[in-house]
């Protein structure tokens, strides 16, 4: 098979001393970012991005993706040891991870989490290896109408699968699309939505928005809850690791279920956070040991962790093959690809095979590097959280603002960070999802171009999105997902009508505990 030859070539690209050093740096920075509250994978990658502008794209993407893997691992560490999720996607890991650590099995819990995460990632990368060429060839047949239909499908699946209140998702997404439109219009060359403000002429950078929304917004939230780190000390002995490895095969059902949920949610842009909640919810419902969930049940760690990492890795597949990212972090990376002068999408596979396969090969290596590093450095990173927050907090703030400034050396961007920070805080507290806004900001221009080109092709008729089987299928799927919340609500009402006690709380497992179904 051609894929394996390409992968082999990819390994020869990725396995140089320089690249492996970059992986180690990336993973360590990632763990750091994942451990620190207020800094997560999306804005960690954002902060690092300006420093890669001068690097060659292969090295740059290896550094950024390694940071992503590291951040995913770091997030689980704090979930288990401190009951504080370092990443939104590791919230579900706290449910059983922290209780287990309190029972004195912290090392076992951590090893389980890391190993199942690595398993999930491995399944994700294998999926990418097998499917990417096929997906890219498939996508080569896409014209503007098909592309717009794909974007529409991506946006609609946030509404249908994201788990947050549908209207709030729409607001967040719409604002993202509008922010993307600010500034120079790429087709007509005229300026739009600047409201006479000079600072808006160059547009609103999504990187600045990510730093504000995820960085400052998240910090404000964690400050409000009054940060107290009641950490549990953990030293990981080889014996604990060995025992955890030996117990892994017993949980094969949870591992497989978690990876399939994760892969599905990563490819459709549900993202790792939704994936981990969904996996936890389903495991609690269907596992034989479901009753123990919440009291330190190993499967309660394995399920969300596997899904989290499977989603994080497989989110790279649509990003590479279609140019449609499956998570907020991969949306930032997609922005990076465009800045490095690459054209994400199917042509990338023919134009820059070294880049694509180097990246895929690096995902195998970097995840192994990450597991080894995270296992050996847990005590060091856990001790960072024992540094008083009056020191760490302001440092994170400084890093955020410096990062925002380095994006384009623009002073008004600092004020934008403040505004987006306030917005991120309000949105987070009121359960408006933020990832759709980031995705919309990255894809807004491309979606609009695809729409306008389709309109030009069809002389203004929307029927072009139904004109062939491919576009029609994608559009129909998109519409179905868009209306899914309404359909599900009607169906639930009908069922509850028959059974007044109806205990249908399925959607709750989708997006979080606090979400409300209108």
């Amino acid at each position: 098979m051609g894929n394996f030859e390409s992968l082999w070539h990819g390994f020869s690209v990725a396995l140089t001393t320089y690249h492996v050093l970059l992986m180690i740096t990336g993973v360590l920075l990632g763990i750091l970012v994942g451990v620190l509250p207020g800094l997560g994978a999306p804005n960690g990658v954002t902060l690092l991005l300006p420093l890669t502008f001068g690097m060659n794209p292969v090295a740059a993407i290896i550094l950024l993706t390694s940071m992503y893997w590291g951040a995913l691992f770091g997030g689980s560490t704090t979930s288990i040891l401190f009951n504080i999720p370092g990443e939104p996607s590791s919230v579900a890991t706290t449910f059983d991870g922290y209780p287990m650590a309190r029972q004195g099995k912290a090392a076992h819990a951590l090893t389980l989490a890391f190993l199942s995460a690595a398993f999930g990632a491995l399944v994700g990368v294998i999926l990418i290896t097998l499917l990417s060429t096929w997906a890219a060839n498939f996508a080569l047949r896409f014209g503007s109408p098909e592309y717009f239909a794909v974007y529409f499908l991506a946006f609609a699946s946030f509404v249908g699968l994201g788990g947050a209140a549908p209207l709030k998702t729409l607001v967040s997404m719409g604002l993202g699309l509008a922010f993307a439109a600010v500034g120079m219009d790429t087709i007509s060359g005229s300026l739009r939505l600047t409201f006479g403000l000079d600072t808006l002429v160059s547009g609103i950078s999504f990187l600045v928005a990510v730093i504000g929304l995820f960085g400052i917004g998240e910090l404000l939230i964690s400050m409000e809850e009054g940060l107290r780190f009641d950490g549990i000390k953990a030293r990981i002995s080889p014996r604990a690791v060995f025992e955890a490895i030996r117990s892994m095969p017993r949980h094969w059902v949870a591992l497989l279920r978690g990876s399939s949920i994760g892969c599905w949610m990563g490819i459709t842009p549900g993202g790792p956070t939704a994936a981990s909640f969904m996996s936890y919810g389903l495991a609690r419902r269907f596992s034989k040991r479901g009753k123990n969930f919440g009291n330190g049940e190993p499967e309660g760690i394995i399920s969300p962790e596997t899904a989290d990492h499977a989603a994080g890795t497989s989110a790279m597949l649509p990003m590479l093959a279609l140019g449609v990212p499956g998570s907020a972090t991969s949306a930032v990376m997609l922005g990076g690809l465009m800045i490095w002068g690459l054209n994400p999408g199917p042509t990338l596979f023919t134009d820059r095979p070294d880049f694509v396969w180097g990246l895929i090969a690096s995902m195998y290596i970097a995840n192994i590097v990450a597991v080894v590093l995270v296992l050996s450095t847990v005590p060091i990173f856990a001790s960072i959280l024992r540094v008083p927050f009056a020191i760490i907090g302001p440092m994170i703030v400084v890093v955020c603002f410096i990062g925002a400034y380095t994006v384009s050396a623009s002073q008004p961007d600092l004020l934008l960070v403040v505004l987006f920070g306030i917005m991120g805080y309000a949105f987070k507290k009121l359960d408006y999802p933020i990832a759709p806004m980031v995705l919309a900001m990255v894809l807004g221009d491309k979606a609009e171009d695809a729409f306008r080109q389709s309109m030009i092709m069809s002389k203004g008729s929307l029927a072009i999105f139904w004109s062939n089987g491919l576009a029609a299928t994608l559009t129909a799927l998109g519409l179905l997902l868009l209306c899914w919340p309404a359909i599900a609500a009607t169906w639930r009402r009908a069922r509850n009508g028959k059974r007044p006690m109806g205990a249908v709380e399925n959607r709750g497992s989708n997006g979080g505990e606090r979400q409300e179904v209108a």
């Binding site: 509008a178 439109a181 739009r192």
Partner: protein, 157 residues
């Protein structure tokens, strides 16, 4: 502050943004020009979507106005102010004195007044952090940051 008030305030802000987008887009034409849709078309409909969805959120919030859930209590508000206001100060300093001086002042002040550290410790950490950023960014990665009068005196531009 109740959650209801916060929901309403946020929905009103997004509603206003939506209207602003609609009005802004109207300036550039929302119809059909010779070569295709006019530049305002796409933002116009996006603005309508945001406006409509915000109105919907307002309605949903109104239905639950008696739930009486607290959005932020006084203690939390104080914590946010104690953390957020210095950030504004930092931004103001960074814009006038440059990043490195602002970083040092901000760190030292927060450590002293919130962390209760000794002045000597505050100043040491602040200066080291500032110097670290300077080395990494200006020297190593050659990414220039905003600089102020102090750097000018020292001869850095």
């Amino acid at each position: 502050m109740t959650r209801f008030a916060a929901e309403v305030a946020t929905a009103l802000v997004t509603l206003a943004l939506g209207l602003a987008i609609v009005v802004g887009a109207r300036e550039y034409g929302t119809g059909w020009a010779a070569g295709g849709p006019e530049p305002g078309t796409f933002p116009f409909y996006v603005g309508l979507l945001v406006t409509a969805a915000s109105a919907g959120n307002l309605l949903l919030a109104w239905r639950k106005r008696h739930a009486g859930i607290v959005f932020v209590n006084a203690v939390q508000l104080r914590r946010i102010a104690a953390f957020g206001l210095p950030i504004l100060g930092f931004v103001a300093l960074a814009l006038t004195l440059g990043f490195y001086v602002a970083t040092a002042i901000y760190l030292a002040a927060v450590m002293r007044f919130q962390g209760g550290f000794r002045w000597s410790a505050c100043i040491a950490v602040a200066l080291c952090t500032s110097a670290f950023f300077f080395l990494v960014l200006e020297v190593w990665f050659r990414v220039p940051l905003l600089k102020g009068p102090l750097e000018a005196i020292l001869g850095y531009r």
